[in-house]
């Protein structure tokens, strides 16, 4: 064991002196996470702030009722509502980017509704805010249906017993036949800053750990491997030391990135113990996969090239740059063949302040990768040393 530590200490000294591992493992992901968050952070879907306007040209009971509905939504924090006196001023606000959409309540709306005639509510939206515009249309429809339901209630009563009208009781209660109830959900999705921080961290982790395991091929090329094997140390201590170097570099890089991105860009990685579990599992999986790559490669360059390809493919699949797939489609399932996806999912499971053991399923999945690749890597590398 002592010789393992000595070789690992020597490798770490070399890596620190060389600086490449620091640049690739820490500086690059930190810079990229920062830039990505700067560029994409504000525009990631989900962070929609709906700003609507309303032009009430009718000024009737009905139009007031509609504006009241909007104000209620405003009070719930779902939308912001601005009032405009003219259509033109609302269009101007829309074009300057201050509004996503606005409602026009034309004169005669109230009159038409109370007399059973037909009326129109207009929704004018920004051409580049289709979702916001559709939501605005839904709000208007909801209101329209409410009004219609009241009418339907009255005509239904009349159909059953024409002589009963007018009735006691409030027919507007007919519109209240259902309620939408908010069910509580936990948060298992990463905010943009954390997503980019964690995505870049785990993407570059696979490059970082290469500095350890691929070191075995460097020793072999430089001839120092012969010297190590000639020394009175157990044979396994050499590959073990390389794996240990990978592990330490990975853990240190991930820790620095977790702290760094939390400080610089306000990333929220979640429960520290849970994050630690995920980092350890992720680093172990990365080390095993890159160990397997090293076992197949003949030269350090070969390992570097093959390793980069594997890292990029797994990184893309795992959604470290952008989430892959939509809903429950095939692509989103394929994504799970990547440990990157599990790392991000594990962090997501911690996102809403869940306790550390929420990370265990994802960590377990990554350990499956670790075993599936680590065992053949150990066997192949061991065999290579004997030749």
């Amino acid at each position: 064991m002592r010789s393992t530590f000595r070789i690992a200490a020597k490798d770490l000294q070399l890596r620190i002196r060389d600086r490449s591992a620091v640049i690739i493992g820490v500086v690059t992901p930190l810079v990229l996470a920062f830039v990505f968050n700067l560029v994409f952070g504000g525009s990631v879907e989900g962070d929609v702030d709906l700003s609507y306007g309303v032009v009430d040209l009718d000024d009737s009971v009905i139009s007031h009722a509609f504006v009241e509905v909007l104000d209620q939504l405003g009070e719930q924090g779902l939308v912001t509502v601005d009032r405009f006196d003219t259509y033109e001023s609302a269009v101007a606000a829309l074009e300057s980017g201050g509004l996503d959409a606005f409602f026009v309540l034309d004169g005669g709306l109230g009159q038409a509704v109370t007399t059973g005639g037909r009326a129109t509510i207009r929704v004018v939206g920004d051409v580049d805010a289709p979702t916001s515009t559709r939501i605005a249309a839904s709000i208007a429809k909801r209101f329209a249906i409410g009004v219609e339901t009241v009418g339907l209630a009255l005509t239904t009563v009349q159909a059953i017993d024409p002589g009963m009208l007018p009735l006691g009781g409030d027919p507007t209660t007919a519109a209240g036949s259902f309620e939408i109830v908010e069910a509580a959900t936990a948060d298992r999705q990463l905010d943009p800053a954390t997503y980019f921080a964690a995505g870049m961290a785990v993407f570059f982790l696979f490059f970082t750990v290469q500095f350890g395991v691929a070191g075995l091929l460097e020793e072999s090329r430089e001839g120092t491997l012969a010297r190590l094997l000639a020394a009175p140390i157990p044979r396994w201590s050499v590959p073990t030391a390389k794996a240990l170097v990978s592990f330490l570099l990975g853990v240190v890089a991930m820790s620095v990135l977790a702290f760094g991105t939390s400080l610089i860009m306000g990333a929220r990685w979640g429960d520290p113990l849970g994050v630690a579990v995920l980092v350890v599992a992720g680093v172990t999986a990365a080390t095993s996969i890159m160990g397997l790559v090293a076992a197949f490669a003949r030269t350090p360059e070969g390992a570097g090239n093959l390793g980069s390809i594997i890292a990029v493919i797994l990184g893309m699949l795992g959604g470290t740059f952008f989430p892959l797939g939509r809903g429950e489609d095939l692509l989103s399932k394929v994504s799970l063949v990547s440990p990157h996806a599990w790392f991000l999912r594990g962090l997501g499971d911690l996102a809403g302040g869940a306790p550390w053991h929420a990370a265990l399923p994802a960590a377990g999945a990554m350990l499956v990768f670790a075993v599936a690749c680590g065992v053949p890597a150990a066997v192949l590398l061991g065999r290579r040393l004997d030749r």
Binding site: L78, A137, L306
Partner: protein, 383 residues
């Protein structure tokens, strides 16, 4: 001639390394495909639904399915739906429980559970309007049953029959402004030009490591020992970088055209833009190759700079979606100018004249970066 010989050897060395084939030729096309498949259409939110075996539940499910503003994904049980909402797999969830009909018949309000992450409540309004449409005859029937003594079922059938075929209050939707991305823009078009710009730079910067190796292995000195001037060697290295960039650029253009039917606009202007872009990439790659002595570090930093500039310059998220400040920042990168040029060609049928400004800026970048790079490389080789 010597310049071309040095340039050709460099291009050949790059193409001979098999892993480069992946990064230069396969990866960009794969990303164009993935991005196009995923983001090519406009973003339609997904709503997950758990629907019980109940006539009202089924009616709501059908109404949700008919709505254009959302796509619906059904889940067999509530826990799966909750998890999907929490993970952001779907943007909202609706739970339609068993016994909705019985509740309605008793004259009680029906509860529809809606799930969403706290920052995505807005879709509730869409769901709410659709549920309201289904519930209109329910509400009317409940009211009628309460006041006439008729049974709920009876009243419901009557209300159903009385549903007007046309809406009393029609909601008209109109949009104003010019669309950022015209509907004629193919789903792969935007991604193709973004990836072209990103990868020409990425390859050029990451490829700086081969220039460092040329220097470190003493090949530059050996070239200098032949009757070849320093200027020729520097120009040859530049030609090599440029050759690699141009090869990749032409390949991406041709491949995306053939495979995804991507339009690049006026061919002459598109090639001119690619040449300008490749020149900037080649110059930047040279600068890195002349500045760094460690090829591993150079390719690491090259990847970082290329991805960082790509993100800032609109190669990942279209600049149209940037804030005005970020758009100004973006135009510090050559990427933004190249993408502006391609947008002009593709979306507005621009010609060489229309992109003269973009070309000028790009060649300006190439001239400035290239001069600094040539000066540094000359120093690096001769000392």
């Amino acid at each position: 001639m010597k310049v071309l010989a040095i340039g050709w050897v460099n291009t050949k060395r790059m193409l001979r390394e098999r892993s480069n084939l992946f990064f230069v030729f396969i990866l960009p096309i794969a990303i164009v495909l993935l991005v196009g498949a995923q983001f090519g259409g406009e973003f339609t939110p997904l709503i997950g639904v758990v629907a019980a075996d109940d006539p009202l539940a089924e009616a709501v499910l059908d109404a949700l399915g008919d709505e254009e503003a959302i796509d619906v994904l059904t889940y067999p049980e509530e826990t799966l739906l909750v998890r999907a909402v929490e993970r952001g797999v779907v943007q909202g969830g609706v739970i339609l429980t068993d016994g909705m009909w019985e509740v309605a018949a008793r004259g009680e309000p029906i509860r529809v559970e809606y799930l969403a992450r706290p920052d995505q409540q807005q879709l509730r309004e869409v769901v709410s309007s659709l549920v309201a449409r289904v519930m209109a005859p329910v509400g009317a029937a409940q009211y009628a049953a309460r006041h006439t003594g008729a049974s709920f079922k009876e009243a419901f059938e009557i209300a159903q029959a009385l549903l007007p075929s046309e809406e009393q209050i029609e909601v008209q939707v109109a949009t104003v402004g010019e669309a950022l991305f015209p509907p004629t823009l193919g789903r792969f078009d935007l991604g193709a030009s973004q990836q072209l710009v990103l990868f020409v730079f990425l390859t050029a910067l990451a490829g700086s490591s081969s220039l460092i190796l040329t220097r470190r292995l003493g090949l530059s000195r050996r070239m200098l020992s032949t009757p070849t001037g320093v200027g020729t060697i520097v120009a040859g290295e530049a030609a090599g970088r440029f050759g690699v960039a141009l090869t990749q650029g032409v390949y991406i253009m041709v491949a995306t055209t053939l495979m995804f039917g991507v339009g690049w606009g006026d061919p002459l202007a598109a090639v001119a833009l690619l040449v300008a872009l490749s020149a900037v990439g080649a110059a930047a790659g040279m600068l890195m190759g002349a500045t760094f002595d460690n090829d591993q570090q150079a390719s690491g930093i090259g990847v970082m700079v290329a991805l960082g500039l790509g993100a800032l310059g609109g190669s990942m998220l279209p600049m149209e979606l940037f804030s005005p400040t970020m758009r100004t920042v973006a135009h510090l990168t050559p990427h933004a100018w190249a993408l502006d040029g391609f947008a002009e060609l593709v979306r507005h049928d621009g010609t060489l004249v229309d992109i003269a400004g973009e070309l000028g800026v790009l060649f300006g970048y190439a001239a400035v970066i290239g001069s600094v790079a040539a000066w540094r490389l000359r120093k690096a080789i001769t000392t």
